[in-house]
């Protein structure tokens, strides 16, 4: 595993490059980049739970919505600024995520998926029912965007793009730190063999709870940013089989258990609906087919394919006798 300073340096360079490229883009491309960056940060934080801890949560569509509505309510009714609303949305979502996790982690496997699915549905239904707060089925309009600082000579769209990319950068780095921490190692132990992990005295409850709260916090941030950039949110953006399912697809297609894989997955699956814009009915179908193909033939996703390709290319030069995972086979 590469060390954190290296990763931070590479990510910062990539971020700067992305911003530089973004300055040359038209508004439509910028919007695609924003969508990609927001979904990529969602996917990265979701991967900490799905890929590293091994729990399939279907409640994250609703958690994303919670972040969005919290941000929206903060910046309109409560009159707070964007920079206050953002962390509050993250913290509120993390708090709710903690409660959800305390309930859901009493179960595992299928039961966990079904329970979080139920919670996701309750959440989505709540957005519809609590119309006094959320605007109900009509949606929540007039959310102020993140204002451009007056000393920056750029327009709103470019600023939005920078913020979305910055969120991705922060989420990615935080996730890298998390999975390398003792907690992250404990999460991997939970995924690999929970009984063994318990027997070794690893605090599995604390590990998986922190993974869930971690993903909840960044999901909330992404939600608040999503709401501010779109100026509008509606419950249909936060359904279990819409966003909740898309997150699973992004992470699986990108590569579970690698943090850069989901970023690629998000790029692929954000570009896809745009490429299929002429035939928008096919984009969800393509999501489903891609997900099925990957889980059947390449369960490690895009990242796994790339790693395998790289290993094949490297093999003749540096043949090692160390028993790596692939080497045993």
């Amino acid at each position: 595993m590469a060390r954190i300073p290296h990763i931070a340096l590479i990510s910062a360079v990539a971020f700067a490059a992305a911003v530089a490229v973004a300055t040359q883009m038209n508004d439509y491309l910028l919007y695609v980049v924003i969508l990609w960056a927001i979904f990529a940060s969602l996917a990265v934080s979701f991967d900490v739970l799905l890929g590293y801890t091994g729990y399939l949560s279907l409640a994250h569509g609703a958690l994303f919505g919670l972040g969005a509505y919290t941000g929206a309510i903060m910046t309109t009714r409560a009159g707070a600024g964007f920079w206050l609303a953002l962390p509050v949305a993250g913290l509120v979502t993390a708090g709710v995520a903690m409660v959800v996790a305390l309930i859901a982690f009493r179960t595992r496997g299928l039961y966990f998926a079904v329970l979080t699915l139920g919670i996701g549905l309750i959440g989505h239904q709540m957005f519809l029912v609590a119309s006094g707060l959320t605007g109900g089925v009509l949606g929540f309009a007039g959310i102020p965007g993140p204002g451009v600082p007056s000393w920056l000579p750029i327009d709103q769209n470019l600023w939005n793009t920078c913020l979305a990319l910055a969120l991705l950068l922060v989420t990615f780095l935080a996730a890298q730190v998390f999975v390398r921490s003792r907690l992250g190692a404990a999460c991997i132990a939970v995924r690999e063999d929970m009984t063994l992990a318990q027997a070794l005295g690893i605090g599995i409850s604390r590990a998986r709870l922190s993974a869930f709260i971690f993903s909840g916090f960044f999901t909330g941030l992404a939600g608040a940013l999503f709401a501010a950039i779109n100026n509008f949110v509606a419950p249909e953006s936060f359904t279990v089989l819409g966003t909740g399912f898309q997150l699973v697809a992004l992470v699986v297609v990108g590569g579970m258990g690698t943090l850069w894989g989901p970023i690629l997955g998000a790029a692929l699956l954000t570009a896809l609906p745009e490429a299929l814009r002429m035939a928008s009915g096919y984009s969800m179908l393509a999501y489903g087919v891609l997900l099925l193909v990957f889980i059947l033939f390449a369960p490690k996703g895009f990242a796994g394919l790339i790693q395998r390709g790289a290993a094949v290319l490297r093999r003749p030069a540096t043949r090692k006798l160390s028993p790596t995972k692939e080497g045993v086979r």
Partner: protein
């Protein structure tokens, strides 16, 4: 007051019968093959749409339902072949994701074929039965009767045939069943066929009362998972009683509190049961496999 309660009870049992029909297929597939078949709701949806298409083509409702069920059986076996059989021995997470993918693919395909517009199948039996205490439509009676017939049929298959014996053996211990020379191909096909047929029948019957549309299977399959959890996974009796109970709870919540809270009531029940009695009311706590 009492009249309202009795009426709600009848409505609840009718609604619960459909949940039970959907849950029976789901619990069978999960109990025997350990496959969390999220695509079960799509068996239900395709069953409804095929029945609709055939009725519109001029067929009799019951014939259309039977033909639709046959087609869905084929679809079920195909889904097993494509999405689940290659994943034998894979972690449960892969099976779940694969099932989700299959479900989305079927939904979207149906949307492309039939569009997302809601339709209704003309009701094959009309009229109501009036008693001094409550009113029940003949269609509701048909649904409840179908549940009883289905349960009887499954019971007979499972307990009175060699195939049923093989299915039960597989449910008890997959590896031991394999060692005894039971053909897994047969068991898989039979289980998926029965499950798919039940789903399709439920879809056709419901389609004659409620509107049908491509995502109509989502809610019932989730309710069926709630029923599974309520009744205990793999328990047929649990599926029936759990389904009826869920129907009652929903109708009571809708009748006495608010219709908007109906679904929230169902899923809150799910959360409560998982917290208090995770093995369900009729399941037995079992050691990890």
């Amino acid at each position: 007051m009492l009249d309202l309660f009795l009426q709600q009870t009848v409505n609840g049992l009718a609604l619960g019968s459909t949940y039970a029909l959907v849950a029976l297929g789901l619990t069978l597939i999960f109990g025997v093959l350990l496959i969390p078949n999220f695509a079960h709701g799509e068996f239900y949806m395709v069953g409804a749409f095929l029945t609709y298409a055939l009725v519109m083509a001029g067929l009799n409702f019951w014939l259309a339902m039977a033909l639709g069920a046959l087609a869905v059986i084929a679809l079920g076996c195909l889904i097993d072949l494509v999405a689940f059989r290659p994943l034998r021995g894979a972690p449960p997470l892969s099976l779940m994701i694969s099932a989700l993918a299959a479900s989305i693919i079927l939904q979207q395909t149906a949307t492309l074929i039939w569009t997302s517009e809601a339709r209704t199948i003309p009701t094959p039996v009309t009229g109501v039965l009036r008693t001094p205490f409550f009113i029940v439509t003949w269609m509701q009676v048909v649904v409840m009767a179908s549940l009883i017939l289905s349960v009887a049929a499954i019971w007979a298959i499972l307990n009175r045939t060699r195939l049923g014996l093989a299915i039960r053996a597989t449910a008890q211990n997959h590896d031991a069943a394999l060692l005894m020379g039971i053909s897994m191909v047969q068991v898989r096909l039979a289980t998926f066929a029965i499950g798919a047929a039940l789903g399709a029948i439920a879809g056709a019957l419901l389609g004659a009362t409620f509107p049908i549309y491509p995502t109509m299977g989502v809610n019932p399959v989730l309710k069926a998972f709630v029923v599974l959890v309520l009744g205990g996974i793999g328990s047929l009796r649990g599926a029936v009683l759990g389904g009826l109970f869920l129907g009652l709870v929903e109708v009571m919540v809708a009748g006495y509190l608010s219709t908007e809270l109906q679904d929230i009531g169902a899923f809150t029940l799910l959360v409560l049961v998982l917290l208090i009695r995770p093995q369900g009311f009729f399941g037995t706590a079992q050691v990890e496999r």
